[in-house]
Amino acid sequence: MPSLATVAALAAAGLGAGALGAMIGIGGGVLLVPALVLVFHTTPHVAVATSLVAVVATSTAAGSAYVASGLANMRLAMTLEIATTIGGALGGVAAAHVAPNVLSAALAALLVVTAGLLSTARDRSPPPGHARGAARAIEREAPTDAPAPHEAPREEHGALAGSYFDEREGRVVRYEARRWPLGAAVSLVAGAVSGMLGVGGGFLKVPAMALGMGVPIRVAAATSNFMIGVTAASSLSIYLVRGLVAPRIAAPVALGVVAGSLAATRVAGKVPGRALRLLTSAALLVAAAQLALRLIHSDAAR
């Protein structure tokens, strides 16, 4: 059993990852997995399982807020969850069969990609008119039951469609998701990456929904976050039955992540987002380099 000091350090790592992840708009998993492997010297499998517990916890904590906002489209989420849960299960099974070094190499590659995305990202609030083409094309046929200004957003019975009032544009935006096979294909990959590496996979799903399916970016981001819990639960169940979850490591990390992400919502908008993103992407590159060095050393030692 870990000492009290180790448990406190694990909770602090979770707190930091949860807070930083929420402030710069990424899931805590991509920060947690390298921290657990490099600082706490867990195996990559235990790190991924721990991160999945934290991902389910944050997604569940944030889920209520996304549901309350009405922006998450639950029918669209459920449809894509068929693909993400299959991907999550396949990713979990694959991860259980691959060697720790292969998992570390895949993690290093993911860290480099995330660092690149973070350093080129702009502020999270969408530019006016984003995904406007798709929304405007069907705006004329907006139903009479579309929400009035400042009324809660809605989704439509029996369809992958909905509407919300966009304060920045001052109008009701009605959307209808198109090309769902494309969204499902990307969601399958996102689920597999999530199950193998313990991350949420939003960096794949949000662009697929916004650019590929014509869903407004705000709805895409809320729907993706709403989906993460079920996807991670699908792969977490595999780690659980295989005994790869270390409860006394996972619990303090999960408790820390939930506290950190909830605390971060209080300071959102008051932190220098650009500087934080650049610092985080630098830290991710250092972690990727450390993982690569460990792989080279372990190969040389054979």
């Binding site: 068929i82 977490l236 659980l240 409860p247």
Partner: protein, 101 residues
């Protein structure tokens, strides 16, 4: 379905999902925290089991959210999405069985 009825189904669905998520999270966090505290106080195996139970409850919470929507959409005769929800429950349940292999 008339717009008013559709809106009421959606509002009910959102309320139920919110309640399921917040209750599941609260119970799992309480179990994990109590289990961790008991681990240090007593070092018993039962405390470790409580921590694990908290993690299992946490993993089950998003699945319960899917089951809730399955019931709500079935009652509203939104069959297309009720079947989609049923498929998700079946996939997540079989993932655990697949994992044993």
């Amino acid at each position: 379905m008339p717009p008013d009825e559709s809106k009421s189904v959606e509002d009910r669905g959102r309320r139920v999902v919110q309640r399921v998520l917040s209750t599941g999270l609260a119970v799992s966090v309480a179990a994990m925290a109590a289990g961790m505290a008991a681990s240090f106080a007593t070092g018993s195996d039962a405390a470790g089991e409580l921590v694990l139970a908290g993690i299992v409850i946490l993993a089950a919470t998003p699945v319960l959210r899917v089951v809730s929507l399955l019931v709500i959409w079935s009652r509203a005769r939104d069959w297309r999405f009720a079947i989609v929800a049923l498929a998700v429950v079946a996939i997540v349940s079989s993932a655990a069985i697949l994992g044993r292999g």
